[in-house]
Amino acid sequence: MLTTTPCSPIPPVAADVVAFNCNGQQVEVGVDTLDTLAEVLREDLRLTGTKVGCGTGDCGSCTVIVDDQAVCSCLVLASRCEGRQVETIERLADTTIGAVVIDELARHHGVQCGICSPGLVVAAARLLADRDDLDTEAVQTALAGNLCRCTGYRPIVDAVMAASQRMQSLER
């Protein structure tokens, strides 16, 4: 005979207000200890461009930039973002690098269902800002934390390589 008894409930979480810079604007949000940055961006700030595919940092769909680092926002506690600079796809799409990455992904047919796309754009834009010495293997390794189930990856690699070359000729 097997019974599931009620578990002790999760203790009430502390509520707090966290202030950070989001896409160039100062924001203040009331958060619980366990709220992730992904949840706060999507539900409180209504910035739904950042997607949640797994909640465990494996698929990369929730990639955002925090203090110049690409991170999985599903693994970042919102309460840890006090005073930090957060940038999401909503802002990055309009930066020079972001726009070039987006243009190349569209031209190379690197989008099918699109759920992985914003996370990929953010990760690729960060990669191009950090490195100008990319080959296809380096792109594959750097982006291996972003899962795509539709395209088979080849058009995305081609697009990121083309974007890299375009950025370098822009910078010359």
């Binding site: 739904t48 461009g49 987006i102 569209a106 047919h109 914003p118 189930r149 395209t151 058009p155």
Partner: protein, 751 residues
Amino acid sequence: MTQPPRPDALAKLRGESIYTADLTRPGMLHGVVVRSGVAAARIRSLDIELGAAAPGVVAVVTAADLPSVDFGLFVPDEPLLARGAVRYVGEPLALIAAETERQARAAARLVSIDYEPVSPILTIDDAMDAGRRPVLEGRPNTTEESRIARGDVEGAFATAHRTVTTEVTSHRVHQTYIEPKAALAESDGELLVVHTSSQAPFEVRKHLARLFDLPLVRIVVKTPTIGGGFGGKLHLGLAGYVTALHRASGRPVRMVSTREEEFHSPAPRENSKIRLESAVDQDGTIRARRAHLHFDAGAYAYDTPPISAVGAMQGCGPYNVGAVEIVSQTAYTNTVPTGSFRGPSGPQMAYAVEKHMNDIADDLDLDPLDYRLSVAMRSGSTGPTGQVIADDACIEVLERGVATARAWEAEEVECGPNQRRAVGLGCAWWTVSPIGGAVTMTMNDDASIQVHTGATEIGTGAVVTSLRTIVGDVFDIDEDRIHVVTGGTDVGPEDHGSQGSRTLYGVGTATQMAASAMRELLAREFARQTEAAVEDVEFVNGRIQTRGVPAKAVDIGDIAKGLIAQEGPLVTSGRFQPKGPSFDTGCVSGWVNAFNEPNFHCQVVEIMVDMRTGRTQVSRVRAIHDVGHILNHAGALGQVEGGVVQGVGYALLEEIQSDDGGATTNTNLHDYRVPTFADAPAVIEVDFVTQFSTSQAYSGAKGIGEAPAIPTAAAIGSALRAAIGAQPDELPMSAERILEHIDDRMGSHVS
């Protein structure tokens, strides 16, 4: 390639496309499902009192609050919430809606269930044991779904030169669409409106009507942008749960699956057991084939009955076989219900048939590639149920594949010190769903066009791109003058859903019919005005003219304006229902009895096997696919490349694992290994065979959504056989399994 980007690319890339979980409503509640932790049990009691009293909870629903109605697309055997018994770990028992998702999940932990467990049926062997109790009362644990019996099988086996037997066991894999299932239910006046990530909104509507006793016309199912499906979103999904909570609370309710829940929910690709026996002549002629197939449906039928029958249709592969006796059964187990995944039954049947062909070639000392060519289907061949093959598409794809395999085998390729390189080929045949489609079309007085369709865009581009291409072709106008209205049950005629590789074929042909009817209206009016013959009217570059008199051409819009003023709005429709192939009706009983518009597919792979670890990479693939005509090259290429990578995942990396209690154990995306950038083959060459058209569809196009995922494992298996001298009879070909075979073959010495 200068094909312009698809029309939805920018919005998706910029994060502006709205997916179901992005939706919010004032006063919205968050719903969660309370799921069974036990695979098989009677429910003695279900106590929701503490859960209902938890902070933020607004509604709790159990089976007691719902009508006792079971539903199911093919067999209505499933309750929305478990009633009296649970039949798999993860089965929904109760629903909770609360102000926040965290509150709802906390409340779910407070629900108390008193189970009386019974010993679960967990494997196909358990299901085949007639002494075990049934998973569902009143239904045996195995049911026959298809039986094909043609010719003198007994006689062939009695007089055969050799008999060869192959048995294969295959595993479960998950579609792993990156967007988890999600749904939101609300009311709009009298209408129940459910937004859901579904490949088949009309099926969702049908289920909701049955479960909640509502007329179809009072239910609207909307599909926002969908983040992948691959067959896993053909079912009711979360729509029934949010509807129940919405009706209980009176407020909009949204529910989103966690990734962990996805692994405890219907419906992954089924595991199966396949037994093939052939009576063969010395030259390899297959005098007869016996096949016994079992497909594990899990606790409820879902799609497995027709999938079993599709499996039976592949029992001979794309090869000529004399007499046939194929029996295919569904097995029921106390596990997560399984269902459609890109080419259902295809990857495992192709693997088993291709291993069997290798086994026969080995037994008779024949070259495996030449052997396949000698027995491949060709124009005039008959399939297992007697349908006549219309052309030589099979021979064409196989000849190209064999030429590639031989060329690659002959190459000198460097590999690492502990690596072995090998080449393998896999061939399969497939079908296009015979379920037709319909669209309506309107032309505005500026000659821009709306196509209204109930078909669903799930990411392939078949709806948002290809339908526009078809209309553009008929009128010779720019595609940006055409808008496809899609996204739910309220914008176009009923559609069977994005499945069976059918959208371009079924909905595309209906679109061409509607466009042709519209074109006819305009041509007749122009002919009347200019006193020309209708046959001489042509559409060129957005204008209408009489052939040979371009100077008198007029804008399509001028004719349209005039017609609208005289006769009313310009509306046409197209309805397409393909006629299935003729076959020997007396030889088969089952859900699927012939393959509509047969198509043929061959993939050649080069693999690198690490002989110390068994880890195997696919370094190169050539994918040869019989597609008829290509309307959307980027779209077709996308289906092949994406399908091949899924095929690699199926063969080498992915496996749903479970424990002795029947619970899935690898419920996240690091323990369940989906191919990453690093796993995709470095090179995928794509070769489309376009000279063999369908008999009926617009432009002769066949479907390509599923086939690329089908022969990949078979090709990898053949390559592995060449690399290590053994081919596994159990899938997946994991590193551990490959290493066992290497160790068996070579003791513990590695050369």
